[in-house]
Amino acid sequence: MSVAIEFRDVVKAFGPVRVLHGVSFALPPGQVTGLLGENGAGKSTLMKILSGYEQATGGEVLVNGRAVRFKGSREAEREGIVLIHQEFNLAEDLTIAQNIFLGHEKKRGWLLDDAAMNAEAAQVLQQVGLRAGPETPVRQLIVAEKQLVEIAKALARKARLLIMDEPTATLTPGETERLFALIAQLKADGVTLLYISHKLDEVERITDEVVVMRDGRFVTRSETRAVTRHQMANLMVGRETADLYPPKTPVPAATPPLLRVQGLTVPGWAQGVSFEVRPGEILGFAGLVGAGRTELFEGLLGLRPRTVERVELEGRPVRWRNPRDAADQGLTYLSEDRKGKGLHVNFGLRENLTLMALSRYAKPWLKPEAEQRALEEAVKRFGIRTGSLDTPASALSGGNQQKLALARVLHPDPRVVVLDEPTRGVDVGAKRDIYFLIEALAREGRAVIVISSELMELIGLCHRVAVMRGGHLQATLEADQLTEGELIAHATGTH
């Protein structure tokens, strides 16, 4: 029933860029293995080879001792190997059930058996805890819901080896717990699991063993019990890691707010939310999936229909009809949906980086050399790791795409910046850099708003945290009140 896997000297090159330099290790059947490594270490690539989405350039993969060479994902699935992709692979126009069964439709004679598929989809949706009906078009789902659909899709395949590539990057603790329960269930059923995550607490909790990769090479493996989180981080980055969070610089008490929002209502998502943020302050937004944080800020920018009593920037009332207006006045927003809203994946890195600040380079003609210099700087500042500066953004690893997206919204040099899940899919080392960067932005007198599903991140970073529940602003906690328990209590309404 269980599947044992062995990689032997697996090599992968995209054109002449080598990303895997001969990876060898074995996975015993029936246990949960964590796969660790920095952004761009080659984790996703190796998993795509294992599950048939990419072909290795050299070396071999053994399944239960037999060398295999999958020409497509279907062949891998025949062996019971299923991958949950890091990036969503859903057809937006189709319904949830249609996506779950795409390529594996149930039929009765010639015709599709939609009733059976919807029923079964409802069942797996229930398992992952998604309450949307199976006939909901995927287009209508929010990011976290899409992630759950991806998980449901893999479950419906009845995998014997299930690979999860950062399944919780967009999930809040609630769904994460549910997922862990599922993982435990699967493990008990004898399924082999491979778990990739940059959230080391999760890795510590659910894996039996960790494998560490660095720069396209296998580095080491260890029983999870035998290493601490700190040691895991060190193994990943290959050096001693320092404190994750910067010290908090206190905000001068008397400063007037930089941004003040009063009575913002996004019909169906958020009701009468008011908040303010001062220069130099980092304001967090906490809440469960469905709390309406993302939509609140999309509404603020005019990306959704909304009503608002008053928005003030530096005491002056402003009216934003679209993100352009907001950007012109010094507010930018990083979306949580990297692929769908955050990056032009077909564009080059340079074009992506400068898009929001083009006026700086157009005098009146764009200066590609200046843009190129800016890219080189950003690559250095944000630690974007890439084979070449001359590739489309789609060739970056997930975490590096996130860094690029972050670089992009900071490029216009905004006075207020709203970061929705800024460290989604980013490795510990880079996370630390991003935290320090956010702190530095605040110290320069900017206002930073961080929406995050990682409570620790909010606690470690923010001066104050606003908690939302069911579209309402529940409470705003000051630094001294910030504890995990307190946040959860407000977010879930059990306070």
């Binding site: 057809a91 937006e92 939609d114 229930q126 819901e145 759950l148 717990e177 169906g268 469905g290 959860i488």
Partner: protein, 351 residues
Amino acid sequence: MPPEPIDALKQGPGAPAPGGAAVRPETSTRASHRARSLLHSFGPILGLVLLCIIGTALNSEFAAIDNVMNVLTRTAFIGIIAVGMCFVIISGGIDLSVGSMAALIAGTMILVMNRLGPGLGSPVTVIAVGIGFALLLGALFGLAHGLLIAKGGIEPFIVTLGTLGIFRAYLTYFADGGALTLDSDLSDAYSPVYYASLLGIPIPVWVFLAVALVGGLVLNRTAYGRYVQALGSNEQVARYAAVNVDRIKVLTYMLLGLCVGIATVLYVPRLGSASPTTGILWELEAIAAVIVGGTALKGGSGTITGTVVGAVLLSVISNILNLTSIISVYLNAAVQGFVIIGVAFLQRRRK
């Protein structure tokens, strides 16, 4: 759908109770979404109903059964082609050649039947062979398109723009610039296929209905139809889901070719001839029917019902214009233009 409770947020990380995850507290959001998408798909129907009211007001003959049958019958050609076109557009492709293809199929079909006529004896056999030939040729042309697009990797627009010229040129060549006309005894034997009725409804309308029904069934109830939608929605996702993308593309263009063949089979008995003017601008009409029917040109989703309504709507506009003289003939095309834009406005997509 019963309103969903808002209680789901009550669970902390420690207690993953049922419904612990993504919940939609606002049922009204979804309901309004429904309403909007209903309006979206009812846009063309609404437009059609409005037009019919105007038509009847302008000329009471408009609603007469004879006129209705005339309109439906003449819609049949474009409608049948539009059903095939709907698949192609949903799959993310386009076919500009359908008018020329219809003309060439009609022409060669006539040539073949005239040639066989004396030999085969019974006109019915000849006609049966001719029909088979037309359907086969349509499927073959579609196959050629599909292969050039899927295997050759050429843009559908280019491939079919090319064959648009090629098909019409060969028809002109075969017809020596004139018309190809079906021998009169064959023509007499064949004409019931267009002119006869069954239960008071003309044959072409029956065929149109059948094609639309089968089309709807294939699109919504078969794996192939599902793949067509997946392909148009996101080709990469379809590829990842192990859908044989190339095969689906080829099949889709063949399906359209077949539809063109069927339309031609109905067309030939009408006038018994094919000439270089046959089928001119049908591609635009067929594509317009699909798009007016609510399918996005980018592909991904669309409905056969919408397409059928779109095709009928376009015929009704020109029918109404023919039934009245209130507007200068010079401006007929302008009226059509305004109506098309107006109907599209009724079902515009929100941003």
